[in-house]
């Protein structure tokens, strides 16, 4: 475990039954109202009441732990509330995506030992692959389908190295890829449209280390697939574009970009996950 380790040891599966606690969420904000907490970052443990159990389980089940949270999220009077104080109105159907975005922001903005990138990561046939791309590029679909899953959205890379620390929240699947995964609850995301959450069966524990050996920039496009090699300058530019907070956020971010841009990189044009797997096998 790295410096981010927690005294609690998450195990899988440990899903929480919703509605186990009798008082309404947010009715009380004290320690007695806590149900369970989710470890998401240093000094960041999120306790949540019954109405939030389903959406948090959907996204962050692997981060469940038992110790005292420093922050309690709840639903109060139709609002997402923190420590009993209303922060923003929210609808039940939108809760999971809302919590996903909120808590990803928390994790990225509280972690000092790693460079956070908007990227997925998998271990595919012995190679650590960092999947970089904008929304809709197919990185979540590939991350959830190929190899061992480490993350689909938020990649923490130790500053100045090519070592990734797993952040295995459930993969966020957009409508175009629903058919590729087992059916699950559909949530409403105001920006991305309908989404589902999929927890790949073969996935790393939170904080597990992965030695990255290549950068892959997926581009979903039906038709003939191909892999196009990228030079280090292109790779560095693309990495910088996917940095949370940019280069100024931490002196280690530039060192991380330098380390990662030295890895082999390719643009992966694919029309199906099978095709992507075959192309990756043949590449190098």
């Amino acid at each position: 475990m790295g410096p981010w380790s927690s005294p609690c040891s998450p195990s899988r599966p440990r899903r929480l039954a919703p509605g186990r606690r009798s008082p309404a969420d947010g009715a009380a904000a004290g320690a007695g109202s806590l149900l369970k907490s989710w470890r998401l970052g240093p000094e960041l443990r999120v306790g949540a009441g019954a109405r939030l159990a389903d959406p948090i389980n959907a996204v962050f089940a692997d981060f469940l732990c038992e110790d005292e949270p420093s922050l309690e999220l709840s639903i109060f009077d139709g609002h997402l509330a923190m420590n009993g104080v209303r922060v923003a109105p929210c609808a039940d159907l939108a809760l999971a995506p809302l919590l996903e975005g909120t808590l990803l922001g928390f994790a990225a903005r509280t972690r000092r030992d790693c460079t956070p990138l908007h990227a997925g990561a998998i271990e595919f046939e012995g190679r650590g692959l960092l999947l970089l791309g904008d929304k809709g590029s197919g990185k979540s679909t590939l991350a959830a389908s190929l190899g061992r899953y480490f993350t689909d959205e938020l990649a923490f890379v130790e500053h100045g190295t090519t070592t990734l620390r797993a952040f295995p929240k459930a993969a966020t699947i957009k409508a175009g890829s629903f058919a590729l995964f087992e059916e699950s609850r559909t949530w409403s995301d105001a920006v991305r449209g309908p989404v589902r959450y999929h927890q790949p069966p073969e996935r790393a524990d939170p904080e597990a280390a992965l030695a990255l050996s290549a950068l892959v920039f997926p581009h979903y496009a039906p038709g003939a697939g191909r892999c196009v090699e990228l030079d280090p300058v292109e790779a560095a530019a693309a990495l910088i574009a996917q940095l949370f907070g940019g280069l100024a956020r931490h002196v280690g971010a530039a060192q991380t970009v330098r380390a990662l841009s030295g890895l082999p990189a390719c643009a992966l044009h694919f029309g199906s996950t099978e095709q992507a797997a075959e192309l990756l096998r043949r590449w190098r």
């Binding site: 209303r86 923003a88 928390f106 903005r109 105001a190 907070g245 100024a248 931490h250």
Partner: protein, 393 residues
């Protein structure tokens, strides 16, 4: 009706300052909403249909950010005793329906004494905040920033530069009131003190903070004051001769059609001609106030030439480059008693007396120098000597 006037009417409605405006709204509000950081508020108050889709990403991002900010704020306030919360973080919890409606990415804290501010700075540095150097004579210590959390803190010893004076600060500090932020008990300026601080900002803040939101908050919070609190605001501004605050209060009352908390100000040149240029926008709603104030200033007997005043100010601050250099990006608006020159590159507005306006006209439309009145010639020569005009005469 201009986009600004439409938006102001909508803001009056959603803050209970006025009735719901009729008709389809919002078609061309986006630039104003973005420039004045009003998107989170409007997005969470049933926005006009024409805007709803465009504001949806902002609405969601605002929720993400507000949760993190509330958490960060609560943690910081637990560690920083003996201070008073100012501006956004306090307003988000005392005025708005929910913190998500008011964005802020820094925390401004007022301290009664420098030693307490220094102790706070040491604690923040130990928690990962990076301190910048103090600016001599500035009203707050060098700001502190946590680049990972993307959050900044300013530790204030006064409310603006130049300051309002120790006695005024002490009086405001003494009126501090309890505020609860995400379960943490802290202190903020009381609503009346908050109105004064906001008005100081609106009147002459050199920083580019969003003026329309600033004025809305003055009008909104001011309208909620108890009669004795409202009376205290007027009295405080008068006793401490806070001309900048008076101008901010008057602008807010004019724009949002609420009862003014101070008598109509007669601002100084420095107070009136600031970078806070909303007053000088082409909006007709403000035209009467603008002309009225300008006439008082320019048309009155013995008024100092504002052009000369600006020249002096520019030389004192060693930034003459943006001042009245004839180039593209300058727009002139004639007034009864002179002219306005708006430098669209810097955002500065210069109010010209009649003489100065004539001098300006010369630079646009060459005439024979000898045909000009002596005062105009004198100004032109002064400007040319100082390299501020490249005249053709």
């Amino acid at each position: 009706m201009s986009a600004l006037a439409e938006l102001v009417d909508w803001l009056r409605w959603i803050t209970d300052l006025g009735p719901r405006p009729p008709g389809e709204k919002g078609l061309d509000w986006l630039p104003l909403i973005e420039a004045h950081e009003l998107a989170p508020l409007i997005a969470h108050r049933d926005p006009p249909a024409a805007l709803a889709e465009a504001l949806e990403p902002t609405r969601i991002t605002a929720i993400h950010d507000a949760t993190f900010r509330t958490y960060t704020l609560a943690r910081l306030l637990q560690r920083l005793p003996d201070c008073v919360v100012l501006k956004g973080p306090a307003l988000a919890h005392m005025l708005y329906a929910a913190p998500v409606e008011r964005s802020f990415w820094d925390l401004d804290l007022l301290f009664a004494e420098r030693a307490a501010a220094e102790r706070a700075r040491a604690r923040l540095c130990a928690a990962g905040y990076e301190a910048t150097q103090d600016l001599p004579g500035h009203h707050h210590l060098g700001f502190l920033r946590d680049p990972v959390a993307e959050f900044a803190v300013e530790l204030h010893l006064d409310l603006c530069t130049p300051g309002i004076g120790e006695a005024a600060v002490a009086e405001l500090y003494a009126r501090r009131a309890p505020l609860r932020v995400a379960g943490v008990d802290t202190l903020a300026l009381d609503p009346a003190g908050m109105v004064v601080h906001l008005a100081l900002h609106a009147g002459a803040d050199p920083m580019g903070t969003p003026l329309l939101r600033n004025l809305l908050e003055i009008a909104w919070l001011g309208a909620r004051l108890e009669p004795e609190e409202a009376a205290w605001v007027g009295d405080f501004v008068a006793r401490h001769a806070l001309a900048r605050a008076a101008l901010g209060l008057w602008q807010a009352a004019t724009l949002f059609e609420v009862t003014p908390l101070v008598p109509k100000p007669r601002p100084s040149v420095a107070g009136l001609v600031s970078r806070r240029r909303l007053l000088w926008s082409p909006d007709t709603r403000l035209a009467a106030l603008r002309d009225d104030l300008a006439s008082d200033l320019v048309g009155g007997g013995g008024v100092v030439s504002t052009l000369r005043a600006h020249l002096g100010a520019a030389l004192r601050t060693r930034r003459p480059a943006g001042l009245l250099r004839r180039s593209e990006g300058l727009r002139t608006t004639p007034l009864a008693a002179g002219a306005l020159v708006h430098d669209t590159r810097t955002g500065e507005v210069h109010l010209l007396s009649r003489d100065a306006a004539e001098a300006w006209a010369v630079t646009e439309h060459p005439v024979r120098l000898r045909a000009l009145p002596p005062a105009t010639r004198e100004i032109l020569r002064a400007l040319t000597r100082r390299g501020l005009l490249v005249g053709r005469n």
